[in-house]
Symmetry: D2
Subunit: 346 residues, 4 copies
């Protein structure tokens, strides 16, 4: 965004459902995104933070679910989400070796904002997700510091950049430049308009497989205009889904699983080396940390009405992947490695 040219600006419209004002995860009210970009020499990495709502996430948790498409990844915090069906911190994206620092920084951020944690109440479950940017970034440098995480959290807003920024700085997608992408869909239900938004960090795929709206453009690029050598797919993708629809954690788990439909349509077959994780949360209602009532009430979607939400997820996933590529500039990084931009070929 910020005026970036996105896939729709090329006349390529994915799916049929209407999009939100930003066509981004921040169309879900209260969701904010911030980056800290580390781009200098062989340092091509960074941090992206997604703040799920405007309140204190620890005190006012959100129903959530995680779905692991392929588990060759080092993302942290998913076990507790699977057990309890809630999130209680912002979501941090970074590179694989930034995870430990991400956990430390997010823990300290939560301690700073919650004096009761570890004293009057239990601990906190930091959520840190990663892809391996070691093709463009000197990942052994372990460049991500706690201040970068705080900086990404502090920079969060509703109009954010996509492509090679934040955690996306050193990421590759279909052997072109990837990174951060987003999209959203509006859903008319219960006489109201709800929004589903998605943010992805893309780092997967073989050029050969890249498909844009049904066109196998990867093969075209590979055989006619691309100088590089085909490489194995070693990459990953992280997918965050936010919605203001009241969905239970079980329902969020069901919608999370449909992200794969959209990703598959961009050409990928989920390589063995992929850490492919979907995290979905609903902002429609809170689970209070200090809930005093013994019985609570939760709204949820009539399950028979859930198919349009599945469609929204699949559409967003396909479009967000393409947005992560088309907004990314060509990048020259560590060890002389380069990734061209999809812009050159579309």
């Amino acid at each position: 965004m910020h005026g970036q040219k996105r896939i729709r600006d090329y006349g390529i419209n994915i799916g049929e459902l209407p999009i939100g004002p930003f066509n981004a995860i921040t169309d879900v009210k209260g969701v904010k995104v911030g980056h800290c970009t580390l781009d200098s020499g062989d340092m091509k990495t960074g941090v992206t933070a997604v703040i799920p709502h405007t309140g204190n996430t620890f005190l006012e948790k959100l129903p959530a679910a995680v779905y692991v498409i392929n588990g060759f990844g080092k993302s942290v915090g998913t076990m507790q989400v699977a057990e309890l069906g809630t999130i209680e911190t912002p979501l941090i994206l970074t590179n694989t070796f930034g995870v430990g620092t991400g956990v430390n920084a997010l823990t300290r951020y939560m301690l700073d904002n919650n004096e009761d944690i570890g004293i009057d109440t239990g601990t906190v479950n930091p959520l840190v997700f990663e892809c391996n940017d070691s093709y463009l970034n000197n990942i052994r440098g372990m460049y991500v510091q706690e201040e970068h995480v705080r900086s990404a959290l502090a920079a969060s807003g509703t109009d954010f950049l996509e492509g090679g920024v934040g955690a996306g700085t050193g990421m590759s997608c279909y052997k072109l430049k990837g990174g951060i992408g987003s999209s959203s869909r509006k859903l008319e239900m219960d006489s109201s308009t709800f929004t589903l938004g998605m943010l992805v960090l893309t780092n997967m795929g073989r050029l050969n497989d890249l498909t844009v709206a049904g066109r196998q453009i990867g093969k075209e690029i590979k055989y006619s205009r691309y100088s590089g050598e085909e490489e194995a797919d070693k990459g990953s993708i992280i997918i965050f889904i936010a919605t203001d629809l009241p969905l239970s954690s079980r329902q969020l788990g069901r919608i999370a699983r449909r992200a794969e439909c959209g990703i598959a349509r961009t050409g990928n077959n989920i390589s063995t080396g992929s850490g492919e994780i979907v995290m979905a949360f609903s902002t429609a209602q809170n689970i209070l940390h200090y809930e005093k009532r013994e019985i609570i009430e939760q709204r949820m979607l009539n399950e028979e009405m859930i198919d349009p939400v599945f469609q929204a997820v699949a559409e967003c996933a396909e479009e967000a992947v393409l947005n992560s590529m088309i907004t990314a500039d060509k990048c020259s990084g560590w060890a002389g490695h380069e990734r061209e931009s999809l812009k050159r070929y579309l």
Copy 2:
């Protein structure tokens, strides 16, 4: 097959890997398929049997895995496969209300062939899978009898019909006629040629979403040439994967999960009402029921080499779905319901 015109005969080639001689699950040596078709008046149903190898499957079990894409289904026997990683019977496909009879018939078939079951040894785990053919078939008639299951088992061979036959008789796919489809891929590994084959029973999808090799033909049909009304997707798909590659049950579970990539490329987003189940097995080696050794050896693929197998699964799934449609004739069934053939539109 049997000279049926399939999707490749229309010049539509899915994927890049080479196909086997039949381009069907029966390209995996030892695998046989048989149908019993019940097609008369409002009875539009049947049974399809897949025999996984030529030996006694109870005594010589096969490594296997099941993967549930969406669990709104009544298929039987998956729990034990998940626990033990083996299959010990043929696989039966039928309609939803034929499952109980399928279990009884397959149990009696196994008892007839194994006098020790229930006496000197334990019981047996029948595998029966289903889709709901109630649009074209009067499913409340519960027409499937045990003799139909035996008949399908007895009729099994390597050259089998696809489309509206056997369990596929009354099935719909993308609101056109669906049913049985198959495909295969050859893989060069370890200085040998291995085969991966697939058989699907298709009964899912909205016409609007049908995509053939990237072309959104469903929308074309819907807006220009189709007289029916759009219906919600209530359907299911069952996917069987066979291979002579030595894969562990864990690896079979991983390849099973890639079927969704191919299915998604035909347009589907996995509707809430779908019983979408993948069953994968390897014929490369047996697990003996009366194994005397305390420690056994099993061959398995070097996991780093598994990506081409994933690709084979995705390609087969996309092609098998299309084969299930293009081989199926228009069908008029119960309550005046009709399904056109994809042949009319392609």
Copy 3:
């Protein structure tokens, strides 16, 4: 019950929570249990039906969850419960080879009571669970007929027999006689009294391991008073949990998992051959089949308050297993096989 002497009548009290009036699953209002016992010559088997509530279970579904402790079993219907978190039929218990007939009978029972199934609406998910009674019963006889399932459903009530009745007729537990057992606990929450009840079908364990309230009585019996030879544990246990507490399906899944704590205290280590399945449901609220609202409300327990429910489950499981044994008489069955009653030794 019906005046049967149960484990508390021997002065053995499991746990600390108060019990309900029947100390049985039928203490949960609306839950009924019925048996059909087939006990003649080498036919030692039967059917037990659990009716979850007094309404039409298909139209008024209940939140539910299934948890598989060990999956070497042939129980049917669990996949859909895992996906949708609801049950829509009674629960049937029978022997392993009675499952197909159980499915057919329960399907026909549901069709008879719901004219819309398969016509105006989808199908139905029959729930049939089993253990292998082939030690005392000639299981190859496949004696269970559809009328026996209907008979068990028709016989259902709140005061039911335990031990070697219904599906428990031919079951063994710790190499003594097992079968049907039940127990319940009362929970004070939200200024109300709630009930959690359990019914088990026991068919597992080695005599050596039997432990009653901490006392390793199995070893005592084995070394001093038992004439039989030690046999491997090949058995299973099915556990049904009912409660009128408002629990979400996710919460029901969590409580289901605690049944193992109670079972373990009777001595068992979950043998490889065990089909050990827990099914939990809540009667506190319905999920309507023809729900018209797009957003619904569901009550659920404040998750921080769930530990006493876990305790209730563990206590019920330990006591229900013991009740299944102490109420069972010695049984002589097929092939001259015998099982002594725990009554003889306690």
Copy 4:
């Protein structure tokens, strides 16, 4: 060990299988354990490292499995073990807020020992497990530094201390002092003697529930000799299983699940707040990181012979929990909190 008085020294023998020379996880050849204890003022915490074999674990991975009994925990690295069935680093235990530092330290340790990681090959999956020691330790101090992890790794050996040492320094168990415990069993199979060993970090349970070899000693202590107030169970337990038996990752997952049987016999019902994680690995054979063969062979146990391994796991779990308590001295920690030793009461 080191001459510590353990539960068997009190005449309490758990189970029937023979124990190894140390009766500890280090009876499995190649497994070593090291501690770094931080015990000063309100700092009551530390690190325990388990080194799974004597080779380079990254280059020579081990078959492994993880099983989550209850997921209210922040342990790291389990997702990849679940996907690939291998471990490639030592296992680190520490407190909940030490996890980020544990990840960083273990990552650097692996980078130091493997120059190819992040350059010629992919990344590495650090395994860090935790319990919350905030009752005795000022957990907000985040005292664990990377040097403490390196120190624990460097200190590893076969004769190690149990109780309030290393990661166990500030842990509580059944409201008494807990910490590190271990046990082992020998298994005769295939004309050889195999060993299964376990190490636990205990931090769970209500005093009321503590049961020692069937005796409900917790109630005795509580009502007659204990001055403290009953507290809710907020705790966790981490369980590591090592064996030199050739088990596949699927089989390791099955044995991991039996740990709960032994834990339950010490009285616990798995509280909602528990991070209760089992990690099992086999040292019998390696999975090579740079495997060149396309098809490999793996030995595995004949599944029909697995019940004694289940028994070994259950016995070890019960005994290791008791060892973690009986070897721990009374501890006075942060905020004046105290935990008595079980030694005082047994």
